[in-house]
Symmetry: C2
Subunit: 410 residues, 2 copies
């Protein structure tokens, strides 16, 4: 692996032109799209239109005239193909945390007599916290969070488990689960599966319907590029929608929200998983961000994603960096779209890289994360990132005290 090879790969990349859809600072190598996706160029104009021409001009009539009221469904239907979901099963709304609460409650209701939510001990914290919150609210006997190490989680599948809640791609290591096999195992044990697709949606083909998945949630602000704190999404397989209510029974999920009826009566389909009034500015940005995906093959995105991460791993191998340990699987099918490296001074190393305009991030206790977004990352980014990492480690810049000062968000 050498310089000219990276350049050749960029020249031959069928997705290279997509980078033009993003407004990236010119001198930055951005490898943190797994935390916050870059800004799609069309978002600013869409937001301006929503503010000035919709809200400012049409005022309250915007709810009908611009179908703001339909945005959660409409945006959901645009996300659905990225998830391998037929229409009528995806909504864009609320945060992942809030959506997890809805779907975990629904799962318990679908499996009476099975109080257990099974998950990995190392799952993303908010997933575990929301399950804990539900456990505390419902009390023992009605909801119990069971956590097992990643390599033993399937051993926890017994007749008490209502739902297996897993994150498809691990936020720390980038390890990717086999959705099909795990879903099958859970179903064989009589349990449902709830997939958190935060690190999967928009960066690989997914097959919720085909794999038989029951429930899913995911994130708008990572590989979907919806902007900071963009609304999240949820998926409920059609076969469960009629039977599964959810406790955040707000007016937007009512069968006739503007009848102002005294009693809650859930909408017939996926809309029953809405709660309150949708945030239109965030939703409009999300909608605009999805334009980038129009006509893009997710298989091609996955091919490029795997090539980028493999190139990065191979470049690191060639450099033989001291004190750096690869946490991400080398095996393609087991890898998401990030490369994680352990280094005892990981936080400071990442800060020193950021000063040299290569943006990655850090996760406790010692993990440097490099996320690759095939819509805008180039093989040249792989080259610059690996070289910058090598130089920061070689010249010891990261040892400076200022790189050790923790920011509020890391």
């Amino acid at each position: 692996m050498n310089g000219p090879d990276f350049a050749r790969r960029d020249a031959e990349d069928p997705l290279a032109a997509l980078r033009e859809h993003f407004d990236l600072p010119p001198d930055v190598v951005y490898l943190d799209g797994n935390s916050l996706g870059a800004l799609p160029r069309n978002v600013a104009a869409r937001i301006e239109r929503t503010v000035l021409n919709e809200w400012g001009t049409d005022l309250v009539a915007g709810w009908n005239r611009h179908d703001w009221i339909g945005l959660p469904e409409r945006v959901g239907e645009r996300i659905a193909p990225l998830l391998g979901a037929e229409p009528g099963q995806v909504l864009c709304c609320d945060s992942i945390s809030v959506n997890l609460f809805k779907l975990l409650s629904a799962a318990l209701a679908l499996k009476p007599g099975r109080p257990v939510i099974l998950s990995e001990a190392g799952n993303f914290p908010t997933d575990l916290y929301m399950a804990e919150g539900l456990q505390t609210l419902l009390g023992p006997g009605r909801c119990e969070l069971r956590r097992l190490p990643a390599d033993r989680v399937l051993e926890g599948l017994d007749e008490d488990v209502a739902v297996l809640m897993l994150t498809h791609v691990d936020f720390r290591t980038g390890h990717r689960h086999n959705m099909q096999a795990i879903t099958r195992a859970a179903h064989a044990a009589g349990a449902l599966v709830l997939w958190d697709l935060a690190h999967s949606a928009g960066v690989m083909p997914l097959s919720l319907d085909d794999s038989g998945a029951d429930l899913a949630v995911g994130c708008g602000y990572k590989y979907l590029n919806g902007g900071p704190g963009a609304p999240a999404f949820l998926y409920v397989a059609k076969r469960h929608q009629q039977a599964a209510g959810q406790p955040l029974a707000g007016w937007m999920g009512h069968s006739r929200p503007f009848a102002f009826a005294p009693d809650y009566e859930p909408a017939g389909g996926i809309r029953r998983y809405l709660a309150g009034t949708p945030g239109i500015l965030g939703m409009a940005a999300m909608d605009a961000a999805l334009d980038v995906f129009e006509g893009v093959s997710m298989e091609a995105v996955r091919r490029k994603s795997l090539a980028l991460t493999r190139c990065f791993i191979e470049a690191l191998d060639a450099l033989g960096l001291p004190g750096v340990r690869l946490l991400t699987p080398r095996d393609g099918p087991s890898r998401g779209s990030q490369v994680s490296l352990a280094h005892r001074d990981g936080y400071a190393v990442v800060q020193a890289m950021i000063e040299r305009r290569v943006i990655a991030d850090f996760r406790e206790p010692d993990i440097m994360r490099f996320g690759f977004s095939p819509l805008y990352n180039r093989f040249a980014d792989v080259q610059l990132a690996s070289e910058t990492l090598a130089s920061v480690l070689a010249d010891g810049a990261y040892r400076e005290a200022r790189f050790r000062q923790r920011a509020r968000v890391t």
Copy 2:
């Protein structure tokens, strides 16, 4: 009451200049700020800056550099004075519906052995629906929604009531409760009070702290002008924060969200009522919208609000409109900032008025609502609205079939 009098009142209005802060269509009389507030002029520039200069340029570093992570608290602290709340008790986050679920759960936890949520049968539907959702989730004996007619609701206060949940200003009639007296009555019965301030915040002085209120929620998109689906707010009196957890235990409410600790440990103060990642675009718009309130006396806002609604009522009296019945109290202290009129063809009448550029709205079964926002409404609007209503009724325009076709949102 006649033309010149309206003009004189506008000329003498100490708040008249505030209208310049809003971007209103020039030929429209907008009396629906109680549904969606008008666009403050500075919002578009703030959103553009957030999109291009913060997200686009600083990417993930925006969380620290622009303190996105602190927005729910910072915006909450700007709302707090409008509610009569000392610092550390208000957050801007999620929707009213989701916030109600958090605070109703907290109320039940604060009052063990008292399973009842007491409310008015005519409360805003989402308030009742969220309580129903909690009731269904927890089951009988642990949560029970008790609904009584408005004039008998205090009779429902007994030793089973954990929390009295009321909307301060009724969305149908514009009737305003006496916050002080009702809070006292609830406390005398050992219950907490949760106020929904959707139709109060930003249009009158409030005194949550002084009245001894326990919990409150409210809306960002009505009189606070935060935009369609703007984030909502919540209030938890300091004395309850340590004892009251909440079940939507997302990572943003954790004491150290970026430690990624396996167990949920709620933040010490008001932040524990956060759930998921805040939507930054909506939050930035909300923040900008609050600039209008800087240096504005809420007592002056209330004086103008009462004058506007009184003028409108008096103008209608003078016109003696057939088939129109006033639903809103004439008594100032019992009135919010809207005037509601019943008419059997209310929906069609409102549509015919909208065609004549006077924007009001309709609520089932027969209610025409006219909301007055003292920051931008003029006495001239009162005049035009009353004259337009009179002419629509007189010429029978509203009888045309096209005015009867219901829109999706009404």
